[in-house]
Symmetry: C2
Subunit: 390 residues, 2 copies
C-alpha cells in the first residue's frame, strides 16, 4: 500500500517536473503565431520546437523583449496586451490589457522596467518588469490644443532612458527613467513630418527616425543632446516619382557593417547605404522588391532582406564589401521576419503562408530544416536580452 | 503513517532539487579563484554569489568560455586542465589534463568545438564540446628543424575558424575546422617578432597580434586573407627608451568606440588609440601605470583600465569623446580583471589582495557592493557565449 502510493507519487512528481526543468536559456527563442494568438518556444542548438504557449490575444504585428536573465519574455500585442511568459516553464506569468492599440515595447538597460508605445491612447506606459504594475504613464500630448499623438519607434538607451517618436506631433522624446515614477522628458520638436519608425545604433548612441511625410531622416546623437535633431539624407527621394507603399518597412535593429548602415528605402526597390561618418548617402542597392527588414548578420559581412507584397516570397543577401546581391532564395509566400542565431552561423525565417519556419546556413545558404508553425511572424532570440535597443 | 512518509519524501525531493533548479542563465557569470582552484558562480540581477565549484587545479591565468545555451562553462587552467562545469547544477561535468602548460581557449561559432592553446607541447588541441573528446591536434611545428612553438592569442572567428599566433615562430595561423578531424590551415609567416597576445574585432573581421620583440602590431583582415599580414603602428615605440615591463598586457577583447580602437601600450603608462579606418595611431592617453586590460563599456562611451604592479590598486575611466581620464578609483591592491554586466550598467572588478569583488555603477561610478571571493582574478559573464572572439 505504502509502496504503491510512493510509486504513484514519484510518477506524479516526475511527470509534473518537466514544466520547470533546468536548462540554459542562451539558445532559446520564441516565434509569434499571429493567427492563433500563441507563441512557440524554440531552441537553436538542435533547431527544434520546445512547446507552445497560448492565450496571448491579437498578435498581429507583435514583438517581444526579454528579461536580463533570459527566463521571461514580454510580448507586446497589437490589441494593447502585454504578456509576461516564463519560457522555461512555458506558461503565462502575468497578462495585462494596458491600452487599446499598441505598437511595440522595450526593456530598460537594467531590466527593471518594461515600456510600451501606444496608438490609443497615444503615449508610453511603463511597468515594473517583475509585477507588471504600472509605474509611470507618459501621455504623448502636444501642441496648444493638447492633442494626443500615436507613439512609434520606442527603444531603450543606456543610462536608463527610453527614446520614442510622435507620429502626429513630429517630435522625438527622450525619457530618463532613473526615478521611474518621475520620468524626466526632453522633447525635440519639428523633427520632420510623420516619423513612422526608428532605430538606434548598436552602441545606443544614434537614434534615427524614418519620415513618412517627407524626404530624409531625423538623427539624434544621444551623447550630445544639446546639438538637437539633425536632418540627414535630405536628397533621398527628392524629385523622384513616388511608388505606392505596399507595407511600411521596419527600422528595427540597425544593419551596420564597418561604418556603413543599411536601411530599407520606403516604397522603392532599394536598400539605402548610409556612411555613418558623414551621415550622407553612400549608395543604393537594387533589390527584388520593397524591402521590409534589412538585417545584418552578426559579423556584418552580409545583409539579409525580405520584401513587401507582391514580392514577399523572396529573401535576398547582400555582400557588404561589394554592395551587391549575392544570393536570392524563395522559401515561400509570406516571408515576414528573420532572426540570426546568436553568433550568426544560421538564420531562421518565418514563412506565414506555408505555416513554416525555415532555417538556413548563412555561409553556404543551404536550407537546413523546416519546422511547422501556425502563421508565424516575428522571431525573437534570447540574445536580444543583452543588446542595447532591441 | 502514509502521510508522514509522503511528507518525508516530499522533503527529500525538495531538498535534493536545488542542484538543478530552473532559472534563466543570461545573468550568470563565474569568477576564477586562483589560489584555491575554485570558481564562484555569480548572478548580476541582484548581485550575489550563488555557489562555488572546487577541484579545478591550477587556475593562475585561467580563462573561460561558455556553451551557446549558457549552461556550461569551459575553464582553461594554466596547468593544461580543461574543465567543463554545469553552472546551473554547480558541478564539474568533465575534466581533462590535456597539456602541460596552457594559455587560454576558445569555442567555435556553432558551439560544437572547444580549442585550447598550449605552450607545452606547443600547439592547439580541439575537443568536442559535449564529451571533451579530442577531435583534432594541431602541433605548432615550424621551420626546417621542425621545432614547436608556444601558441598564444587563440580566438574563434566566423565560418567555424580558429585563429592563433606562434610566439617562437613569428607566425599567425588560420584553421578552418568545418571538418573537425581535418583542419585546413593557412599560415602567415614573418609577421613580426614574438607575438605575445592577440585580439579580434567584435565583428570577427580583423585579427591583431601585439609584438613583444619589436615595434608595431600585425594585422590580418580575415575577409581578405589574400592580402596577407599588414604591419601597423610601426612608429609605436620607435626611438623611445623602453621601460621595464612589469606584466604583459592583455589584448583580450577589443575596446572599440566608433572607429577608434584602444589598446594597452606595452611597458608605457599609456593607452594607444588606433584609427581603424587608416590603421594609424590616433593618439595616446596618459594613464596611471602600465595598462593591463583596456575594456570598453558595451556602449563604447567609456574605457576602463587596470594596471600592472606597482599601480595595480587603481582603476581609471577614459571618456572616448574627449580621450581624457575622467575618473580614478582605488578599490584596493591587486585589481586583476573587470567584467561589464551585459548591457553595461554596472561593472565587476576583482581585487585579489582584499579577497573581494567590487561592483560599480558605470554612470555614477558609485561603489554599489563588495562580495567576498578567494584571491579572485578573471570574471566571465555568460553574455560571452553570444559574442564573436570572446
Amino acid at each position: 500500500m505504502i509502496r504503491s502510493v510512493l510509486v504513484s507519487l514519484t510518477l506524479i512528481i516526475t511527470t509534473s517536473a518537466p514544466v520547470a526543468y533546468a536548462r540554459g536559456t542562451g539558445d532559446l527563442g520564441l516565434v509569434i503565431e499571429r493567427a492563433s494568438g500563441s507563441i512557440q518556444i524554440i531552441e537553436t542548438t538542435n533547431n527544434s520546437s520546445l512547446g507552445r504557449v497560448e492565450g496571448l490575444g491579437d498578435l498581429s504585428h507583435a514583438s517581444a523583449v526579454y528579461s536580463r536573465d533570459e527566463q521571461y519574455a514580454y510580448i507586446f500585442g497589437r490589441d494593447g496586451g502585454l504578456t509576461k511568459v516564463d519560457i522555461i516553464a512555458q506558461k503565462i506569468v502575468k497578462r495585462t490589457l494596458q491600452a487599446g492599440n499598441s505598437i511595440g515595447g522595450a526593456i530598460s538597460q537594467d531590466g527593471s522596467l518594461v515600456a510600451v508605445s501606444n496608438y490609443t491612447p497615444g503615449g508610453v506606459k511603463i511597468f515594473d518588469s517583475g509585477t507588471l504594475e504600472l509605474v509611470a504613464n507618459i501621455p504623448a500630448t502636444y501642441g496648444d490644443e493638447k492633442k494626443t499623438s500615436k507613439v512609434i519607434g520606442l527603444v531603450d538607451a543606456p543610462g536608463k532612458k527610453f527614446v520614442f517618436s510622435l507620429w502626429d506631433a513630429n517630435e522625438i522624446w527622450v525619457a530618463d527613467v532613473s526615478q521611474p515614477a518621475k520620468p524626466q522628458i526632453e522633447k525635440f520638436k519639428n523633427i520632420g513630418r510623420n516619423p513612422y519608425d526608428a532605430l538606434i545604433s548598436p552602441d545606443g548612441r544614434y537614434y534615427i527616425a524614418g519620415l513618412f511625410g517627407e524626404d530624409g531622416m531625423a538623427l539624434l546623437d544621444l551623447w550630445n543632446l544639446n546639438a538637437g535633431v539633425k536632418r540627414i539624407l535630405d536628397n533621398y527621394g527628392k524629385g523622384e516619382q513616388k511608388l505606392p507603399v505596399y507595407k511600411m518597412p521596419h527600422l528595427e535593429g540597425w544593419a551596420m557593417a564597418g561604418t556603413y548602415a543599411f536601411v530599407p528605402a520606403v516604397g522603392r526597390h532599394e536598400v539605402l547605404v548610409i556612411d555613418t561618418q558623414t551621415w550622407t548617402e553612400a549608395g543604393r542597392i537594387k533589390v527584388h522588391g520593397q524591402p521590409i527588414f534589412v538585417m545584418a548578420r552578426p559579423d556584418g559581412r552580409n545583409i539579409w532582406v525580405n520584401f513587401a507584397i507582391p514580392n514577399n516570397d523572396t529573401l535576398q543577401v547582400i555582400d557588404t564589401q561589394s554592395l551587391e546581391v549575392i544570393k536570392t532564395m524563395q522559401p515561400g509566400k509570406g516571408v515576414l521576419h528573420m532572426e540570426f542565431e546568436p553568433r550568426g552561423e544560421e538564420v531562421w525565417a518565418s514563412v506565414r503562408d506555408k505555416d513554416q519556419l525555415v532555417i538556413y546556413d548563412t555561409e553556404t545558404f543551404e536550407e537546413l530544416k523546416r519546422l511547422p508553425a501556425e502563421k508565424p511572424s516575428g522571431i525573437f532570440s534570447t540574445t536580444r536580452a543583452h543588446k542595447i535597443g532591441l
